[in-house]
């Protein structure tokens, strides 16, 4: 008969690790992860002013040259590929929550955009795209002349 000897210290550590993981998952569900899953990666916010739209996008872990932005009329597309780092041999993975892979988002803006004037900045993993409205589409003010 084979007896398995379990170290009580190891058992206790494992129990607390499992307890901590469960507790962490419950806390996360309450606190919310704002990065979502692969289906809505990257999360995007859109703001508009009279003369431009601003699109902000959370892209942690990407380099600017890994992001491709295209604009046509009132359509903006953001495309890229986030590569997972290769793991050294013998690396144990305890958690994998960060999304890696290809993503593609297309957004419809409320007005046509001047593609030549689009400005994109990438700081601390946040992409800010300023999209100026086409000059001919900007609202025109008509002054009223007294008759």
């Amino acid at each position: 008969m084979l007896f398995r000897i379990l170290d009580p210290q190891t058992k206790a550590n494992q129990f607390w690790r499992d307890f901590d993981r469960l507790n962490d998952e419950l806390t996360r569900s309450i606190l919310d992860s704002q990065f979502g899953s692969a289906s809505n990666f990257p999360p995007v916010n859109v703001y508009t002013k009279e003369d431009e739209a601003l699109v902000t996008c959370l892209l942690p872990g990407l380099e600017p040259d890994q992001i491709e932005i295209n604009v046509k009329d009132n359509l903006l597309s953001i495309h890229g590929k986030k590569k997972a780092e290769e793991l050294a041999e013998g690396t144990e993975v305890h958690r994998r929550e960060i999304f890696n892979g290809e993503f593609h988002r297309t957004l419809e803006l409320p007005f046509r955009v001047d593609g030549e004037q689009v400005l994109a900045k990438f700081t601390n993993g946040v992409l800010n795209i300023h999209l100026p409205r086409r000059e001919e589409d900007k609202p025109k003010k008509v002054s009223v002349i007294a008759g």
Binding site: N23, L31, N45, K49, L58, G61, G90, F99, N124, V126
Partner: protein, 132 residues
């Protein structure tokens, strides 16, 4: 279990609010990858919008606490048309084994990802001679 979760949640909010001088700020739980090699533990944490100077890492006993303060833009952005995420601070807590060199931990921040490396202690080996 519920009580403990609430306490942690409350703790997260209080922690950040206190440092924000009583300004209410949303707190998010960032995505984390945890890896382990023979020599070290590696934590990769998503904190977009956080500058290196706004990150706080503390290791006390067997608790690792990771915090990041989001600095909101003061630029006028206009009318909100779509909001898939909201801006706020980050908080995450882990229980890690005590067999680590917390004083030798190193961290770097790049493109919204925090990389924390904590070296592990070498297991004590004692050679026992067998008597004849």
């Amino acid at each position: 279990m519920n009580t403990l979760t609430k306490e942690n949640n409350q703790e997260a909010k209080e922690n950040v609010a206190e440092k924000d001088q009583k300004v209410t700020t949303r707190v998010y739980s960032p995505n984390v990858d945890v890896l382990e090699t023979e020599e070290e533990l590696l934590f990769r944490v998503e904190m977009p919008g956080v500058d290196q100077s706004s990150v706080e890492i503390s290791i006390e006993k067997d608790q690792l606490i990771l915090e990041g303060k989001f600095v909101p833009s003061l630029e006028a952005r206009g009318q909100v048309r779509l909001a898939e995420y909201r801006e706020g601070n980050y908080f995450r807590k882990f229980t890690i084994g005590k067999a680590i060199h917390s004083d030798k931990a190193t961290a770097k921040m790049k493109n919204g990802i925090l990389e924390l490396t904590i070296p592990k202690m070498e297991p004590k080996k004692t050679k026992v001679e067998i008597q004849k």
